[in-house]
């Protein structure tokens, strides 16, 4: 299990400050020993206000560094260097809600999330007060493979002692639902198959999580329908405090449509985790290699 040990919080004029600061303070109190607040140059005049807010959120009592950025968020992040997997969290706010999907994030934020290999905690504008979260939700595609979003969400859930739900939406209209590598397609008796298959599915998704860490998982929701329609319904549940999503890292037109829709509609922060290519096992039986 990884723990978030450092937080990098980008503060910008267009973003609401209260909830992100309180969230960071909460995370910091659970073990993040290093909090770096990078204030956007455009907010230079607001330093006092930022410091007041930090103090109000309780962050000033922790090991917090406040710097005024002189570069773009992406460049500032690159200058910090790489952190160990799962140990750094980048926090950033978004602009107004209820604008067209492609405009939901400004170019600088898009540039940041597209380049960032660390989990990015993205706060919608004017977020409802949700801290502390009472539930983390992770949607999963249902493929038997590693899923960084689940692993990182589970790390955070354990660190913050928050339960989590996994949501897997099966779209009956999609032919790929019959993929051999997907959960929830089985013809044997349900008592034989479903429970162990879900257990295997989760183990494959986060193989570095222990059984005790997995105990934060409260439920596995198997939903039939369109993901873009069904996910918002689930997330409208007021108990949901965070949604953790694995994405491919491209925000341009035609990509991440479900994610954009969620960001546009939701009033909860989104933890964005970039998918990474994993080394694959090669299995050779006798003279034959099985391509994976």
């Amino acid at each position: 299990m990884s723990r978030v040990r450092s937080v990098v919080l980008f503060i910008r004029r267009s973003c609401d400050l209260g909830t992100p600061l309180r969230t960071v303070a909460w995370i910091a109190r659970t073990g993040a020993s290093d909090v770096l607040v990078i204030i956007h140059p455009e907010m230079a005049a607001g330093e006092l206000e930022v410091r007041r807010r930090l103090k109000h959120a309780g962050l000033s009592q922790l090991k917090t560094r406040v710097v005024f950025g002189r570069h773009s968020m992406k460049e500032s992040l690159i200058r910090l260097g790489e952190a160990r997997e799962g140990e750094r969290l980048v926090v950033v706010g978004s602009k107004e809600r209820d604008v067209p999907a492609r405009e939901i994030l400004d170019p600088e934020t898009i540039e940041l999330i597209e380049c960032c290999s660390d989990p990015v905690l993205l706060f919608p504008f004017r977020l409802s007060e949700f801290v502390p979260w009472s539930l983390i939700v992770t949607p999963m595609s249902g493929e038997f493979r590693r899923n960084r979003a689940l692993a990182r969400a589970m790390d955070l859930a354990n660190q913050l002692q928050v339960p989590m739900d996994i949501v897997h939406v099966i779209d009956p209209m999609q032919k790929h639902q019959y993929s051999a590598k997907a959960v929830g397609r089985t013809g044997d008796q349900p008592h034989h198959e479903i429970q162990p298959m879900i257990s295997e599915f989760i183990s494959a998704a986060c193989p570095f999580c222990s059984e005790s860490e997995k105990k934060v998982i409260r439920n596995f929701r198997l939903i039939h329908g369109s993901a873009i329609l069904e996910l918002p319904k689930i997330l409208s549940d007021t108990s949901v405090g965070l949604i953790a999503i694995e994405w491919k890292g491209l925000f341009m037109r035609g990509h991440a449509e479900t994610l954009k829709e969620l960001i546009r509609k939701l009033r909860v922060p989104v933890l964005l985790i970039r998918e990474t290519a994993n080394q694959e096992t090669s299995l050779r039986a006798g003279h034959r290699f099985r391509a994976n």
């Binding site: 038997f144 051999a180 590598k181 089985t186 860490e213 096992t281 299995l283 050779r284």
Partner: protein, 1017 residues
């Protein structure tokens, strides 16, 4: 290993032979029977060989000296005892002398040659044909020159054919002189006349060692240097090949100027070739994995998401123990379980395997509802300069595995980079096939990058013990005595006691484990060996502890290589019968080997255990035993290793009391076997499950309605009897099972006046419940009744007294038998309709039509389970149902009927069960639909290797493995079992793909082994 000394093992009697002594010592230590044969006396061997041999394993060494007249054995720390001596009588001595003198005179008379007689040999005389200084002691390598010289001396005289003539005359003279059975041989230089020869050595060893040790002749190797004709006379080493040993491996390392007989493998090279041969033999007692890729399953690279799948595929086992192929340093999600056949416990709702508590099954309160997972016994923890090596995300470590299918040895290699240090761990493990309670493990640890402090701990993995092994209570801390470590477990509800006992050795020194520290220099290696013995007992802790200690005491680590050798030999014995080869298709040969490997490691070694659906390789199906065992797995064992098949059936016999209780509970008579069976015959199927996220409660009908399992067990009994003719089993177990199951059917049927029917059942196709007159169930019930009536006749005729006692004990009366007869004749059996199709059950043809997409085959959507009422009303099948009938009773259906049913049912079957594939492969082959047959066969044979159902992580699919073997043998190859043995079914149009070449295999039918080969048309 029987070998001649001079010319084979040594080129001269004065040479020092440390390498040879070392190799022989190691082989003796591994338990190899070694027989040295020599014409000379024991003193020569004592001087040259024995002085440098180790003291261990000498009980396996025998020296046959003086050309078959003496045998020496070794006891009490190396002391030689003459255990056999052929004592010549005074008359024999006189006859030998007279023979030698007459032969000498003959040589002088016919050839005008001087010869010399050597008198001072035990039980023989030698006549030297060339007593010249140049040929006093000719080396073996100069045999050609010696032959030329002797022939030159003898050949100068016309009309007399040299050496053969002399040998023949010597035999005549000996008989004329009074020797009844003279043994005359020649080494070219001499003609030897004696009372014994090397055949006496072979015979003594055969009778006194080979047979008592249960060594089969084909496990014997005879090595000499003179088998072929030399100078017109057969080589003397041919005498070692007595008829009883003719199936041995025979090797000549000699020059053999005239070649060797066809049965002899000629590997010229003298003692050097012999040493190579010994090295090869030694490798069989070492961990060495096969160099032939066709026997290896190899995993390279590493995807943690597939780790559990790899663990299932790389399982090692022996029928009692199943140890998943986990890495020694592994990831948290690893399911590095050890399973023990027959050890079950309650399912604990508070700590389910799936931490999600996704389902809430209504379960009974059985104490045996799931197979218990024991902790991995070979976990390694290593600290380098105080930092523990861990497998982390995105680290640079590498991990690979190799499983030798031929020997059941798993090799794991792991490499870690920690700062500037590199650590490599190479481990090997096996679950002993010759002693099923034993697992052995060895690993080498190599560090590089400089001097480093290392802390190593190896032993049972107690990490997250309660979460991962919720059934177990650790009874006491490990007690260590005399370097032995004991750990005791008790299962929570079933109360089974289990002991793990182990011993450990580091760099050859036994230590009190499990941890130690050391400072390693750059490139320094540490070797660790462990042996683990596992014992169980129902209740007596004291007894368990005592027996485990005794067993450990009998497991000194000095026997390590002997254990490996015995294990390898057991595997070799398995493959000798079971290997199956496609001459032109390496891939299928390998896939079949993989499947047969897994069947073998699941085969119950103890009477009263069976094979769980996912064997002992995973937690799937909670270790429950289904009809799979009797219908799909038993045929392989019945025709290969029948004692395993018998164990499967004795398991059912053991659960007969539970089956009787179950029948009574449901309001029937006789015995109703559990649909999901574990220890005591109680059915472990839940009544329903609740899927929380859907708020759907799905009822489970199989437990109460899938009653065909009872007839399937009866079918297994009959099939075993048919294949083996095991009367003792039928008398003591089989007949009772057939009687009790027949009684059940009598109470289960209903009568509408004209005919009997069976209502409210689930057939093999589990998508339909509550159906009437399922074709498969009714057919099997009738079969069951008929075979019970057959058993009555057979038992009454073969053992009337026992028959009467059994009927009395079971309360079976004549009226019962009459009723069975009536029902078997009047039970409704769905027949083929006008189009040839048999209705799966009453009303099936009227169900709603559904178009089944190809994409849904093997991957049916979960909605099919949740919308069970909708599915129940639709014409869609989970697996072969009607098609099971021709699969099991091929002679009862015409090709046209089989074809009609295949064409009807195949398109509406989604193969939600792996059992479906081999049945379809068989059926398609039978009707000549070979593209379908090949497709289904390939899928069934590769189901786990290719993880086609995406659930291999839960264990391999035993029934599909057995079923694919059946599909190949009885479907694609067209083998049919008849009273006279297996025959090739001519009516089956065999057009095996040309790219397969020929297929060869062996079947054991009624104690006779048949070799079968079928070539592509």
């Amino acid at each position: 290993m029987v070998f001649d000394w001079d010319g084979v093992a040594v080129s001269g009697r004065d040479k020092a032979i440390p390498h040879l002594q070392d190799s022989l010592s190691r082989l003796l230590d591994c338990g190899v029977l070694i027989v040295v044969v020599t014409g000379t006396h024991f003193g020569h061997l004592q001087h040259q060989l024995l002085s440098g041999l180790g003291r261990r394993g000498l009980e396996n060494l025998f020296c046959c000296t003086n050309r078959g007249s003496e045998v020496y054995a070794f006891r009490d720390g190396g002391r030689a005892d003459r255990v056999y001596l052929k004592q010549a009588s005074l008359d024999d001595e006189r006859h030998l002398d007279r023979t030698a003198i007459r032969l000498q005179k003959l040589i002088f008379k016919e050839f005008h040659l001087d010869s010399e007689i050597i008198f001072d040999r035990l039980n023989r005389r030698k006549v030297d044909l060339i007593p010249t200084p140049q040929w006093v002691s000719p080396p073996k390598g100069s045999i050609n020159e010696l032959l030329m010289a002797v022939e030159q001396r003898l050949g100068a005289h016309e009309g007399i054919a040299g050496l053969p003539w002399l040998v023949s005359r010597a035999r005549d003279i000996a008989q004329e002189c009074g020797l009844e059975d003279p043994r005359v041989t020649t080494d070219i230089k001499h003609i030897e006349i004696g009372l014994t020869d090397k055949s006496d050595s072979s015979r003594w060893i055969l009778l006194n060692q080979i047979i008592p040790r249960k060594i089969e002749p084909r496990e014997v190797c005879i090595i000499g240097d003179e088998f072929g004709m030399t100078g017109g006379v057969p080589g003397s080493d041919l005498l070692l090949c007595i008829p009883e040993l003719v199936s041995s491996t025979i090797v000549s390392v000699g020059v053999e100027p005239a070649g060797t007989p066809s049965m002899v493998h000629h590997v010229p090279g003298g003692p050097e070739a012999f040493m190579d041969f010994l090295d090869l033999q030694l490798s069989y007692f070492d961990w060495g994995l096969s160099r032939d890729p066709a026997w290896l399953l190899v995993q390279t690279d590493f995807d943690p998401a597939r780790e559990r799948e790899m663990e299932a595929l790389f399982t090692v086992g022996n029928g009692l123990l199943g140890l998943r192929g986990a890495l020694e340093i592994t990831i948290p999600a690893s399911e590095s379980d050890l399973y023990i056949a027959g050890v079950y416990d309650s399912k604990f709702q508070s700590r389910p395997y799936s931490e999600l508590d996704f389902l809430t099954p209504k379960r009974n309160t059985s104490r045996y509802s799931e197979l218990v997972s024991f902790p991995f016994p070979f976990r390694i923890r290593i600290k380098l300069n105080g930092d523990e090596i861990q497998l982390r995300e995105k680290d640079s470590s590498t991990h690979s595995r190799k499983l030798d299918l031929g020997t059941g040895i798993l090799e794991v290699k792991q490499k870690f980079q920690i700062d500037s240090y590199q650590v490599e761990i190479i481990s090997r493990r096996l679950a002993s096939l010759d002693d099923s309670s034993r697992i052995i493990h060895e690993f080498e640890l190599i560090s590089s990058g400089g001097r480093v402090t290392i802390d190593v701990e190896c032993g049972i993995d107690f990490d997250e013990f309660q979460n991962r092994h919720p059934h177990l209570l650790v009874l006491s801390p490990a007690l260590k005595q005399d370097f032995r470590e004991l750990t005791f477990f008790k299962t929570m509800a079933s109360g089974k006691l289990v002991a793990f006992g182990s011993r450990m050795q580091i760099n050859g020194i036994e230590v009190q484990g499990p941890s130690w520290s050391s400072i390693l220099e750059d490139q320094e290696r540490v070797q660790v060996r462990r042996v683990l013995v596992v014992h169980t007992h129902d209740s007596d802790m004291e007894y368990l502890e005592r027996t485990t200690r005794e067993r450990l005491k009998a497991h000194p680590l000095k026997d390590f290589h002997r254990w490996i050798g015995n294990h390898r030999r057991a595997w070799s014995s398995f493959w000798r019968r079971s290997d199956l080869r496609f001459s032109n298709n390496q891939g299928l040969t390998e896939s079949q080997r993989f499947n047969l490997y897994h069947l073998r490691i699941a085969a119950p070694v103890v009477s009263g255990n069976s094979i769980p659906a996912r064997t002992l390789s995973g937690r799937g199906y909670e270790g429950h035993i289904f009809w799979d065992a009797e219908i799909f797995v038993l045929p392989f064992f019945a025709l290969q290793f029948p004692h395993f098949a018998r164990n499967l059936l004795e398991y059912r016999y053991r659960t007969l009391p539970g089956a009787r209780r179950r029948a009574t509970q449901l309001g029937f008579r006789g015995a109703l076997f559990a649909w999901e069976s574990t220890v005591d015959g109680e059915d472990e199927t839940p009544e329903s499950i609740l899927i929380k996220s859907h708020s759907v409660e799905v009822p489970i009908f199989t437990g109460t309605q899938q009653v065909h399992v009872t007839a399937d067990v009866a079918y297994g009994v009959w099939n075993y009897w048919y294949c083996t003719g095991d009367s003792e089993f039928m008398r003591n177990y089989g007949a009772e099972i057939l009687f009790e199951t027949a009684r059940f059917w009598c109470s289960r049927v209903s009568n509408d006046g004209d005919q009997f029917h069976i209502d409210e059942v689930v057939g093999p196709d589990e998508y339909h419940h509550g159906v009437r007159d399922n074709a498969y169930t009714n057919w099997m019930a009738r079969f069951n009744l008929n075979k019970a009536l057959w058993a009555r006749d057979w038992l009454a005729a073969s053992d009337p007294e026992y028959f009467r006692d059994l009927c009395l004990r079971l309360g079976i009366r004549t009226e019962d038998f009459n009723l069975w007869d009536v029902i078997s004749k009047s039970l409704y059996i769905p027949q083929p309709g006008p189009n040839g199709v048999i209705e799966q059950f009453e009303g099936f043809f009227q169900l709603k039509n559904v178009v089944l997409e190809k994409a849904e085959r093997l991957k049916s959507p979960v909605s099919r389970l949740l919308d069970w009422q909708e599915v129940n009303a639709s014409k869609i099948c989970k697996q072969a149902d009607v098609l099971m009938l021709p699969f099991l009773f091929p002679e009862s259906f015409s090709d046209d009927v089989i074809r009609a049913n295949y064409r009807y049912y195949e398109p509406i079957t989604d193969h939600g069960s792996s059992l479906s594939l081999p049945v379809h492969a068989w059926t398609a082959a039978r009707i000549g639909a070979f593209q379908d047959a090949l497709s289904y066969y390939n899928q069934s044979v590769e189901l786990d290797l290719f993880n086609l159902m995406q659930n291999t992580s839960l264990g391999v699919h035993a029934a599909c493995m057995g079923g694919s073997w059946m599909a190949l043998i009885f479907g694609l190859m067209g083998v049919r079992l008849t009273e006279g043995g297996p025959v090739l079914e001519q009516s089956v149009r065999r057009t095996l793909p040309r790219e397969w070449g020929s297929i060869s295999l062996r079947l054991l039918f009624r104690e006779k082994e048949y070799e079968i080969e079928v070539a592509a048309a």
